[in-house]
């Protein structure tokens, strides 16, 4: 099996789907001639032609809105937002048209929106966000966030095949940092299913995206404790059963998210645990998150707000000792 970077895996998955199904096409800013700001679609316009790799005007609502129209007519558009942050410019079409159409009319919208998200390299407030929580509040949208190269390929394929609008959170800081063996050919990673990144007995860290790497590093050698790390992979729908099973097993939970604190995925899962696994808990449910601030640019400031390995270590240590 070849070893690919996370970025190449996404490219690979997208290419396989475009080869297999003519109705799949890409649209976004600078994805054609330039190959995409992060080069995910490098070489695509040469292989698939201008029709299927569309360099759009600078208009996010147009990207999302036209994708909806194309999708209901039987195509499978894969939109790219140049940075996840710019989804705010296409917010209306996404939450009011794409998300609600099936509920209201029974017409499904098989589209995918790729969102290069996350910080850690001085991108500043408009190039570093993790906005997934906005969309957990818009029923009708699915959201996935792979952390490994293998899942990146499998989930982009699954997102494309799903008949609903799926937001694909691709973490920029994983593009080249995450590498792994990626099966050749086409395959799908199921939506709504988490992955046990490491099994453990004493405490569970539940997380997703780039924080999976942080969590694994932080808990690899933590005073001899056996720490389980659960990679959610899917944020909506998310794997409730896996979460509850892990809580039942270890009784101690640390939730780690790179997104800002309030009302994020961690808050949702903490509430689920409180409601449904109260009697399995041997300590409070703890969150390690970025505080509620825009992401600053200067490296010492950015490092001070994004969860670091030491922050996760400390939270785990405290809970283990509780």
């Amino acid at each position: 099996m070849p070893e690919l970077t996370y970025l190449k895996a996404i490219s690979d998955g997208l290419r396989e789907e475009m080869r297999a199904d003519e109705s799949v096409f890409c649209l976004g800013e600078d994805i054609g001639a330039f190959g995409g700001a992060f080069k995910v679609t490098d070489g695509f316009i040469e292989e698939f032609g201008e029709d299927r790799v569309w360099d759009t005007p600078l208009a996010e609502n147009a990207i999302i809105g036209t994708a909806v129209g194309a999708a209901v007519e039987g195509l499978r558009p894969v939109c790219e937002m140049q940075f996840a942050d710019f989804i705010s410019c296409g917010f209306d079409q996404l939450v009011n048209v794409a998300a609600k159409l099936h509920y209201r009319q029974g017409l499904s919208v098989p589209m995918t929106v790729r969102l290069p998200s996350g910080g850690g390299f001085s991108g500043g407030p408009f190039h570093s966000q993790n906005p997934e929580a906005w969309f957990l509040q818009a029923p009708g949208l699915k959201v996935v966030a792979p952390s490994t190269a293998e899942d990146a390929k499998g989930l982009i394929a699954a997102a494309i095949r799903d008949p609903n609008p799926v937001l694909f959170m691709e973490h920029k800081h994983l593009y080249r940092r995450a590498k792994g063996e990626v099966p050749e050919g086409r395959y799908e990673t199921p939506l709504g299913e988490a992955r046990l990144a490491r099994e453990g007995e004493d405490l569970t860290v539940i997380t997703y995206g780039a924080m999976v790497l942080t969590a694994l590093e932080a808990t690899e050698d933590l005073d001899g404790a056996s720490v389980e790390v659960l990679d959610l992979r899917s944020l909506c729908p998310y794997d409730r059963d896996a979460v509850l099973a892990s809580v039942r097993k270890t009784s101690k939970v640390v939730l780690v998210q790179e997104a800002t604190r309030s009302c994020g995925v961690a808050a949702e899962i903490a509430a689920l645990i409180a409601e449904e696994a109260f009697e399995d808990l041997d300590g409070p449910v703890v969150r390690v998150t970025t505080p509620d601030v825009p992401i600053p640019f200067s490296p010492p400031l950015e490092r001070a707000v994004l969860p670091q390995v030491d922050d996760v270590k400390e939270a785990c240590r405290e809970l283990l000792a509780y």
């Binding site: 096409f25 029709d51 299927r52 759009t56 005007p57 208009a59 609502n61 147009a62 999302i64 809105g65 036209t66 994708a67 909806v68 129209g69 194309a70 999708a71 209901v72 007519e73 039987g74 195509l75 558009p77 209306d92 079409q93 009011n96 048209v97 609600k100 159409l101 099936h102 509920y103 209201r104 009319q105 029974g106 017409l107 499904s108 919208v109 098989p110 029923p139 009708g140 699915k142 008949p163 609903n164």
Partner: protein, 321 residues
């Protein structure tokens, strides 16, 4: 047009009886701008129909009974109670349902057009919007995308003089029809209360789109004779304006023309009334939706299926790519 007006009158009456929850919107006075363009569509064309264009739904094949049931929020209505008043569409007839944010559907229509363009099909995507919507950023994005790609889309701008209580002069500095040139495609103005004129302009625009000539903006000048919704008494409109436009009522004008051609207009009126009475009875008998339906249908299990509409004029029936 008669059916549209009659249905809307019936619906308004039901609304006043408390049978229609929420708000009520109609297109009284705009029947020609609804019917003319829809009539020019072929069965495989697609439409995003707006809230004052009920006649377009009838042309595609939706029955008045389902419309009334829809407004009353019954299970047999087009959306089964999921959405309100004119926020409905039947995908089996090739229509995509409007949202409240205007003019979002203009972009969706562009998306439909992109599909036709990519597949090299002689099909047209069609939508309506009002004068107010042209102030919105998404209108600009839609016009721009349509022009840049020369999409097979027809935009009908129903300039009914008022966006709720806001008149044209507060809405834009330049007549939208002139702005079309700025986006790279033709704009035409027609008398929106002359159904044949609207139809001719639409048919020409569809022809242009089908043959790869790109989009058209048709500005149909008309007047909204009722309030923005049933809750609006239109006190901000000068009385004189009502009188002027009443004299140009689209239905009366067309009836005159039909009579000149020897058509029995009274017979048509009678059959419309009978149909409406039957349909109303059916609609009133429809049960309310099951409460369990409230949490159903958030996600789809299968790919979408947009069917073909009835397209009575059907100039393009049978023609394919």
């Amino acid at each position: 047009m008669l059916l549209m007006r009659a249905t809307e009158e019936r619906a308004l009456s039901l609304y006043r009886q408390g049978k229609v929850p929420g708000s009520f919107y109609d297109g009284r006075g705009q029947e020609a701008t609804a019917v003319g363009p829809a009539f020019a569509l072929g069965p495989r064309d697609r439409a995003c129909i707006l809230h004052r264009d009920l006649g377009a739904h009838f042309i595609r094949g939706v029955t008045p009974g389902r419309v009334l049931a829809q407004m009353m929020g019954r299970a047999g209505g087009v959306t089964g109670g999921k959405d309100a008043n004119m926020h409905f569409a039947d995908q089996r007839l090739g229509c995509v349902q409007m949202v409240s944010m205007l003019p979002d559907m203009a972009l969706v229509a562009c998306g439909l057009a992109i599909a036709f363009q990519m597949r090299r099909e002689p099909r047209v995507a069609h939508t309506w919007f009002g004068d107010g919507a042209t102030a919105n950023g998404q209108w600009h994005e839609a016009m721009n995308v349509a022009g840049v790609r020369q999409l097979p889309v027809v935009f009908v701008l129903e300039n009914n003089q008022w966006a709720y209580s806001t008149p044209n002069e507060r809405e834009f500095a330049v007549d939208p029809m002139e702005r079309a040139a700025g986006y790279g495609f033709p704009g035409v103005t027609v008398d929106g209360n002359d159904v044949e004129a609207v139809f001719e302009a639409s048919a020409e625009a569809c022809e242009r789109a089908r043959s790869g000539g790109g989009p058209t903006l048709i500005e149909a000048e008309t007047m909204r004779m009722h309030g923005h919704g049933a809750h609006d008494d239109m006190s901000y409109v000068p009385k004189r304006m009502f009188e002027e436009w009443e004299a140009r009522d689209p239905i009366r004008r067309y009836e005159e023309r039909l009579r000149e051609d020897g058509v029995d207009v009274e017979e048509i009126r009678t059959s419309v009334k009978q149909e409406l009475d039957r349909e109303t009875e059916w609609a009133l008998a429809q049960p309310p939706p099951e409460p369990t339906a409230a949490t159903e249908g958030v996600f789809g299990e299968a790919d979408p299926e947009l069917g073909d509409g009835e397209a009575p004029w059907s100039r393009w029936e049978g023609e394919d790519a």
